[in-house]
Symmetry: C2
Subunit: 317 residues, 2 copies
């Protein structure tokens, strides 16, 4: 273990948790899970040039590496507690470490998330974060509980991050700042996920694209889904700068939005929408769970649309 970066992050945060028995600085961290709580655990890696563009600032990388993992906890309805960070970088540049630490800490602090360990190695730039959160027995939001007749909903707006990625090469990126911010500083829907405990029948975060990720719910739940493209929530930034066809494609198939896509019994949809509005992100009904398999997208006239892409697959040719 190398503690340089980890110590830097610790200096940027001031999170103290009584459940951390032994934090950074030994062979392993020792933590105590509160009585009556189970642990949700996720790990995700960001690779330069794959998950964030070359040239992304260190602080954005630090933020995003944590955000994509907190988004996994959000999709389970879990309460964030601890993280470990494994960083591989080509060199030991101090300014880079400081920036990464600052971005990580900026997102960690409001959640009282403690960094309890990590590893720093030399090699091509990749960041892996493992996060741990609490959930009550039986309360975790799974992908497998969607039922025919459930309403499909999604938080926030879709497509901004993919649109932001498209805008990075513009000579002047200022007009697209809101979308680029969604790409570089995704906001995990942690509070929304917690509010969905006991209400949503299935939940996933939109990391690979709506159609791909809702497809995972369908597979796990042995159901199909029908989505109305006209109902997809899109930001004013997206609709201002992109033609309708592009905006729709980004919303259906763009990755990196980190919104929550979830299903609820039809009679709960209005109440859920109101609760999530109060939490600031809102939630939009976009379709229904149906018999069958897979995700079908229809336009306002009821015609089936084929998404231009079926999601991001890093191993696709």
């Amino acid at each position: 273990m190398e503690f340089d970066l980890i110590d830097r992050i610790r200096r940027h945060t001031s999170v103290h948790r009584d459940d951390v028995v032994t934090g950074i600085g030994d062979d392993a961290a020792v933590v105590a899970v509160p009585a009556g709580r189970e642990l949700a655990i996720a790990v995700d890696t960001l690779v330069e040039g794959v998950h964030f563009p070359v040239g992304t600032s260190a602080s954005d990388i630090g933020w995003k590496a944590l955000a994509v993992n907190l988004s996994d906890l959000a999709a389970m309805g879990a309460t964030p507690a601890w993280a470990l960070l494994a960083l591989t970088t080509p060199d030991g540049d101090e300014a880079f470490f400081d920036g990464l630490a600052q971005g990580f800490a900026e997102l960690a602090t409001p959640y009282r998330l403690a960094l309890i360990g990590g590893d720093t190695t030399r090699g091509p730039l990749t960041v892996t974060v493992a996060v741990h959160g609490f959930t009550a027995p039986g309360e975790a939001l799974l992908r497998s509980g969607a039922r025919v007749g459930d309403v499909v909903m999604v938080t926030g707006t879709l497509g901004d991050a993919a649109a932001g990625l498209r805008c990075l090469d513009e000579a002047d990126t200022a007009p697209y700042a809101a979308m680029i911010e969604r790409l570089n500083r995704p906001v995990p829907r942690v509070a929304a996920g917690q509010a969905l405990r006991g209400v949503a029948t299935a939940c996933i975060d939109v990391s690979d694209g709506l159609v791909a990720d809702l497809g995972h719910i369908c597979t796990a739940s042995n159901v199909g889904a029908s989505i109305d493209a006209a109902l997809l929530p899109r930001s004013s930034a997206l609709l201002t700068h992109f033609a309708e066809a592009d905006a729709q494609d980004f919303a259906l198939s763009g990755g990196d939005d980190y919104e929550l896509c979830f299903t609820v019994p039809a009679d709960k949809a209005a109440e859920v929408g109101a609760v999530l509005s109060r939490l600031g992100c809102g939630a939009t009904r976009i379709g229904r769970i149906v018999e069958g398999a897979g995700v079908r997208v229809v336009d306002a006239a009821g015609e089936t649309l084929m998404p231009a892409r079926s999601g991001w697959n890093h191993f696709a040719a």
Copy 2:
């Protein structure tokens, strides 16, 4: 999350654990920590060309990525339970996935360690594993408890892995197979670590080299250590193939041995040695904890030796 590799590993293992509530296949795993147990958590990354040579077999990579992490749990005296694996590879080669899964499973199965999640991304070859183990409150072996007068001991033999690395370029590597095996398939001292609970005052695994790692114990415990080079346990393979000066250098400063270096009160050393002999790895007294700071190595005549290297530092120039 990508489940291709993870599913492959699952097919290679048959570990079922009642404490895994939701395993692979959702946004996060959900696990239950047994009552009265705390959780030890570690994460380590292996980078191709840094932590294993280019050309290392996929199964050796899979084994070693888990071994170095189990070694961290061993150094805490923890009982392994769950792991997550984040793999970054340049392509989605099936034979590589299968080999890696097989090597990982080969080490995981005897420990009943369950793989509960992971991530597969495209990029330069790196493998990150996060492991979780159980420990009773107050029983974890820390680096910080060494006391002046304690005996310093080490399990097994030192220097083989570094010597094995030196032998890889030989035209015929067969004579060096035992040392190369130590490099590629380190055996974490899990049972030894558990046996040291309640007895060892401090413990660390030797990953960066004895002098460097014992130095971490000294720093954390605010003590110094004096090591007798003549007492360093070396394998017959090492002593057969390398001159004394090289063998000593490997034993003092070579990384990747994954033995445990620990301290015990002097009146416990004989008993600890006997217990670890019965566990198969044995343990050798190599020195004493003294007042002061840092690690001093003396030869049989009492002369201070300077180690040729002070350990591996991936960020050193």
